[in-house]
Symmetry: C3
Subunit: 366 residues, 3 copies
């Protein structure tokens, strides 16, 4: 299935992009180079010199332009060649690389693969709890050898905590928790509630529930296209007053590297008003989750990918359970958005309906 | 070429299948999970949960059922879901995995990929010398990066002992030995006789011929579809009475893992009435053969596979020698059986002739 | 794009081919075995026994014939089976492997993939400075994971010294040097001149220019099909008399291993009349160049190959600069020669025009 172009994807964490060293990263099957101008503005270009296809990301940054490491052509933030050091220095017409719109927010660099003029009209989704001005944040990253929608399925059905993460995140009560899902526009919510649950020490400690004490835990997952999720965990001692509830929020951003590999960015945020405790807690969360994510989720996602191979997910006729409702809604939304985009791209006839969503990116031949 | 389905293949040695730990093994391009019920009965299922395609083989065995490691669905020996731990616990209609008929005999687990109702009508081939009640047995296993029919070719023409195994199994007389081949029904025999041969120490010791003494050696190979061979070696000192002949028998079972890789199971058996000497001898045989099989046969088979690639064997127009007669018969039998099965599978017209043989397995898309 | 057959390619350095041990090497997607007869003549055969496709290169050389390591058939220098050790010893009609014409000159073994009778009519290109009778020579080899024409592009535009090899071969003046290219028949020349250049120590030392002294440097590249280059470097102190110029010559021979990998043979030669200094200098050159070739050129060529993938070079619409003139001429010559050969191969009609060039090799299916 092609990728959805007209959407904001996370390309990198902000801290990864510097003025000194360009970053090479494959996104939606395209080789991209990212760097920062002296002004702090982030530039994203095709990482392929139009002359002989050398990777620009191996070149030097000189005066805000990127020098090709093979023959020294320099490309500026607009993607045009700004210097040809050879002969009379004339720049040939085709010496230009594609430039992608970017934004920087929530500690991340966002990139747009659709038509550039549309980027300005589409707002970023909201992750206010990661605004570094008001919050402590801590983030983590994993490269997953599986399609990004398998990761979305994973995050939209947290019942798997019981089976895949029994020693950290799960409990014997999760499968029996109540589950509700809903959608509004292109956003999907899944709510799961456990009452009187005995938490694993990692979760108990994160939310201040003493070992062995029963707790009430609510998990709220919000999904938005193309694969941007917020998980809100609310915990209190069983029977405690609602105002005693402690809340933890995390963002989970899925960006396809290729059809079968995914950049998984995740980030935790807590209000700065919590002081040292908040700062320690976001760090504790990321450090504690890296192990189950890497050693338990990743092998499962990668086994699913191997089982599916290059086939369409639905062609394998998965058995559907009520717990899949949210994940299925998300998949159906993506299918509709991608189909809309293909229709838009193919509609060259006059009087064709105006596009609403975006356009599907062409997959570069790999 | 597709695989022959309506045939018994060896899936594993008996000792590999336990009540505690499921075994994952790819057979005929299918991911299979094998385990043993408390009763001792062996269960073989598709190793892919029908819900989200997780490998069941990574799950736990609980009360004779296999629990999916991702969301906890449990599957029983019939392949049906016997427990859905979520919500109201109802089991959706599609929550079933394919179950394959199995048998246990000759120290091995046999599996049937054709239509289940036909399995009961087809007997296992005979390998009575491996019946553990009456025989000492010892077995070995190698995974070969080559098509299973290249291994059958290898075993059906033992003249290669002289060139590929000169220090263990061969002698300078093998190429000049007399060779005869025959077939009856779908069984192929090749007989090779050497007279007055000076044996390598490994063979001499196995059959009680003193170093340097001339011997008469007969090699009898029996092949049956899809790749089940018995090799009978008969040796006596040159000129000794026929009743002084010592005989060693071994089974060689070839099961395709994929079109280009093969599970090679082999097993030696000697009558329990031989006492300690018999027990020591089967062990001596397997230990002594592992090195030439692994270090001499495997590299050759894998080089052949690389040379052939995905092309049809015959499309390369191999030069045919008289020594190839048995191997060519075996290949022709397999081609006929597979063609018959394809015809049977394609025959949906009323009044079509009744199937005699079996059906060709669909290759799962990998 | 198919390979050009009717051309001499370098298969190996002379010293690699011995009477004792056959050499296996893939050339133009074909598995080839090379060995030397007692007379010193070099034999090149398809490295695949016609019986069961075993690699002959793993066999023994016996009396100038190559014994198949699997079943002992022996093949002589003509490619025909000269011994069948089995049964009555008759050799079946198809037991023959293709033999390729070879020549030995300039310290290298040259091989011809076109029709054998044409080889005699096509002279080797000249590399007299490598004639070992009159010259000291020293050579090097690298296997490159990139198409051979990317290496030719690299050698035909030495302006890349400035960017890719700034610490060894380059200088800040190279991009501003004057460049001229020309062609005559199927030969391409590129001349680049730098005046008053401050050389890197490696170059200065090679040509006797004291550190920090300005020099005049000329680089002359000659290219011939299919990928045979001579680079002549001429250096003198700036303003010195022309007769003070020192000259270094090197050959660069590109032989496709596959469409995406290349055998890169290079060799330096200096007249024996230079004595010890000449001998030391050719060694100094190869040792000094191995590092920039391996650590700077190879990664760049391989990155280009990954960016291009299996696509046609021109389909990516490279921006063309004046410095590319020589490389583009060479690519166009190759395209014409290959097209001519395809036309020749396809011309079965009587009265079709006589072939002038050669024939395109069939790519073996890999």
């Amino acid at each position: 299935m092609p990728f959805l172009s007209s959407a904001w994807y996370v390309a990198a964490f902000s801290r990864e992009i510097t003025v000194d060293a360009p970053l090479a990263r494959t996104l939606l099957d395209r080789a991209i180079v990212l760097y920062r101008e002296a002004s702090g503005a982030v530039v994203a270009l095709d990482d392929r010199c139009p002359h002989r296809f050398a990777p620009l990301s191996r070149g030097r940054l000189i005066d805000g332009a990127l020098e090709c490491p093979y023959h020294g052509l320099r490309f500026g933030a607009a993607g045009t060649c700004v210097l040809n050091p050879h002969g009379d220095g004339r720049v040939p017409a085709g010496a230009v690389v594609r430039r992608y719109p970017t934004r920087e927010r929530y500690g991340a660099i966002w990139i747009w693969f659709g038509e550039a003029h549309e980027a300005a009209t589409v707002p970023l989704p909201e992750f206010e709890f990661l605004d570094p001005l008001h919050n402590f944040t801590c983030d983590g990253y994993l490269l997953t050898q599986a399609n990004y929608q398998l990761s979305a399925d994973n995050l939209l059905d947290l019942s798997h905590f019981q089976y895949l993460h029994p020693d950290t995140l799960g409990s014997d009560m999760m499968a029996r928790g109540t589950v509700q899902s809903a959608s509004e526009g292109d956003t999907v919510w899944v709510h799961r509630a456990m009452r009187g649950e005995i938490l694993q020490p990692f979760v108990g400690r994160s939310f201040g529930v003493p070992d062995g004490k029963a707790a009430d835990r609510d998990l709220d997952v919000r999904w938005q296209p193309p694969g941007l999720l917020t998980i809100t965990v609310s915990v209190r001692e069983a029977g405690a007053a609602p105002e005693m509830t402690r809340v933890g929020m995390s963002a989970h951003w899925l960006t396809p590297e290729t059809a079968a590999t995914t950049h998984y960015f995740f980030s935790f945020g807590l209000p700065r008003e919590m002081g040292d405790e908040g700062e320690a807690l976001v760090r504790f969360s990321v450090e504690g989750l890296m192990k189950p994510f890497r050693d338990e989720d990743l092998p499962m996602l990668e086994a699913q990918q191997r089982a599916i191979g290059e086939r369409d997910f639905w062609s394998l006729r998965p058995a559907l359970l009520p717990i899949d409702a949210g994940a299925v809604r998300a998949r159906r939304i993506m299918e509709r958005l991608i189909a809309d985009d293909l229709a838009y791209l193919n509609a060259a006839v006059p009087g064709a309906p105006q596009r609403v969503a975006g356009c599907v990116s062409e997959v570069s031949g790999r």
